[in-house]
């Protein structure tokens, strides 16, 4: 590791990917996306930029909705949610995501929890960031076994969709017209060849793939101070994990 851990890099990447948004919703079990959103909020505040609103779903303290579980979806359909994170047991090269299971439906070989709100949010949130820490050909497959939500659509009202794919190994952008990912950078400690070997789908890549931009000193200071403090409230175990990894790397 360099002067930062892999998780710190992912958090900084998330903050960069969210730059410019007003409101982001994150799941109660998504600490890295939440940390990235908190980092952006702290950075904007320092720079005197507009405040970023973060809705932590399922949290009693960090959720300002008062109209029950349907409000997130109503709020999204009204165009008031700028960014959201989705993952998947499988993600393919056309950005289709599978949250249901492997093998033949319905008697899946491996059954995951289910679609949740993906078959709605993926269509309507302008900036959906696909996030999956595990980067393997088991996750990134040529074709998903079940389409919980498609990466692109034609002939329907769809203001939203995939903006980027962030993994523990690399950062990809997505071209909706060509329905194809492009490798933007590989994280410190990984090469373009590592990414190739662990990705089951085809994607575009330059001859020389740069290393993912390292977080600068100001970002790391914010992340290790204020943001870790804020994380301790909603994600106490994750905040401890970050502190522990930092100590080990130091």
């Amino acid at each position: 590791m360099g002067d930062y851990t892999n998780r710190e890099l992912l958090i900084a990447c998330v903050a960069d990917l969210l730059d410019g948004i007003r409101h982001v919703a994150v799941g109660a079990s998504s600490p890295i996306p939440a940390a990235g959103a908190m980092l952006l909020r702290a950075r904007n505040e320092q720079a005197g930029k507009p405040r970023v609103r973060i809705s932590v779903l399922g949290s009693e303290e960090h959720n300002f909705f008062t109209n029950g579980g349907a409000e997130l979806f109503d709020c999204t359909a009204q165009g008031r949610v700028d960014a959201f994170f989705l993952g998947g047991g499988q993600i393919d090269g056309e950005a289709n995501i599978n949250l249901v299971g492997t093998g033949d439906y319905p008697q899946s070989d491996v059954r995951w929890p289910g679609c949740f709100g993906s078959a709605f949010m993926y269509y309507l949130v302008p900036r959906v960031i696909l996030f999956r820490e595990e980067h393997s050909s088991r996750v990134f497959v040529p074709k998903v076994d079940y389409v919980s939500a498609p990466g692109t659509s034609e002939g329907i009202v769809r203001p939203g969709g995939p903006h980027a794919l962030l993994t523990g190994m690399a950062l990809f952008s997505f071209d909706k017209t060509r329905k194809r990912f492009a490798l933007q950078s590989a994280h410190h400690g990984f090469t373009a060849a590592d990414v190739k070997a662990n990705t089951g789908f085809e994607y575009d890549a330059a001859d020389i793939v740069p290393e993912t931009k390292a977080p600068n000193a100001a970002t790391l200071t914010l992340l290790r101070g204020r943001v870790t403090e804020e994380l301790s409230e909603s994600y106490p175990q994750f905040a401890e994990l970050l502190r522990g990894e930092r100590m080990a790397a130091a």
């Binding site: 079990s29 399922g58 009693e60 909705f65 008062t66 109209n67 029950g68 579980g69 349907a70 409000e71 979806f73 359909a77 949250l99 249901v100 299971g101 439906y105 319905p106 008697q107 899946s108 070989d109 059954r111 995951w112 929890p113 289910g114 679609c115 949740f116 709100g117 993906s118 078959a119 709605f120 949010m121 993926y122 269509y123 309507l124 079940y146 389409v147 919980s148 939500a149 498609p150 659509s153 002939g155 329907i156 009202v157 769809r158």
Partner: protein, 272 residues
């Protein structure tokens, strides 16, 4: 309306083959009542999860009481996948109606409004549409070139949840968990367990009345202290993560599940 009864009498409202609406884990899950329902063994239940379920749904599945499962997800949260659900899916033990969260809300809202269906964005191009023959695509009658999904009204026979308190008149405090209002108004009958009974009317002040489900929509109420355990109850107590993890580990096999369920009703009461 809003009659206060014993837990056993409340549980008897859930009859074989009925369509039962249950809330998500963060909303107040009636676990004490679930134990009482399991004791009655009503089978072939059509469980509508609003919009997802966890331990409650997994237990009903493990007990073989579910005929149809309509849900957007089943998960034990931090404790991982729901083992009895996963096993039953593999075996094809029940009819699975996979959904997506806002579609479940929309179906209930349609029933709440007494209309046959509601349009909803998204979904087109998802494999959900291949197996949800009850969801259809129509052309927006007000604009050209705008196909949109419609989902039918969901009218549960019974809605069940757990809340902090009810008053003697049968009004129930639901705070900002407004989906509980939708569930109750959509359902033919609503049964509620509560931590305690308030001796003053919950409709007495504007402040308290704002977060109340009126007795008009409540069929029966039973007192069940710590009635959501091992799950948590908003504003009252947190989820017992160690207990959920214990369940997740034991329920991996049918035998382990049976061992966990043996005495669950008693342990539930003792948790109070």
């Amino acid at each position: 309306m809003g009659e206060i009864v014993s837990l056993e009498e409340l549980a008897a409202e859930v009859r074989p083959g009925c369509k039962l609406a249950v809330p998500a884990d963060y909303c107040g899950v009636a676990m004490a009542a679930t134990a009482a329902i399991i004791a009655n063994r009503p089978d072939r239940l059509h469980v509508v999860c609003v919009p997802v379920t966890g331990m409650q749904g997994d237990m009903l599945i493990g007990e073989g009481l579910v005929g149809v499962l309509e849900t957007s997800a089943v998960t034990l949260g931090e404790a991982g996948g729901a083992p009895r659900f996963q096993d039953a899916v593999k075996k094809g033990s029940f009819r699975l109606m996979d959904a997506t969260c806002p579609a479940v809300h929309s179906g209930l809202i349609a029933a709440q409004k007494g209309v046959p269906f509601l349009p909803i964005r998204g979904i087109i191009g998802s494999d959900l549409l291949k197996t949800r023959a009850d969801w259809k695509i129509i052309d927006n009658p007000f604009a050209k070139g705008d196909p949109i999904v419609v989902v039918p009204a969901i009218q549960p026979d019974v809605a069940i949840f757990h809340a902090p308190e009810a008053d003697r008149l049968g009004n129930v405090r639901i705070g900002r968990r407004r989906e509980l209002v939708t569930m109750a108004q959509a359902a033919k009958a609503t049964i509620v367990t509560v931590e305690r009974i308030s001796e003053t009317s919950l409709l007495a002040t504007e402040d308290s009345a704002a977060g109340v489900l009126p007795a008009l929509y409540v069929t029966k109420i039973a007192v069940a202290p710590r009635g959501a355990w091992p799950l948590g109850l908003w504003g009252e107590y947190a989820v017992d993560s160690a207990e959920i993890a214990r369940y997740a580990a034991m329920a991996k096999t049918p035998e382990g599940f049976a061992a966990y369920m043996d005495g669950f009703a008693r342990r539930q009461r003792e948790a109070a």
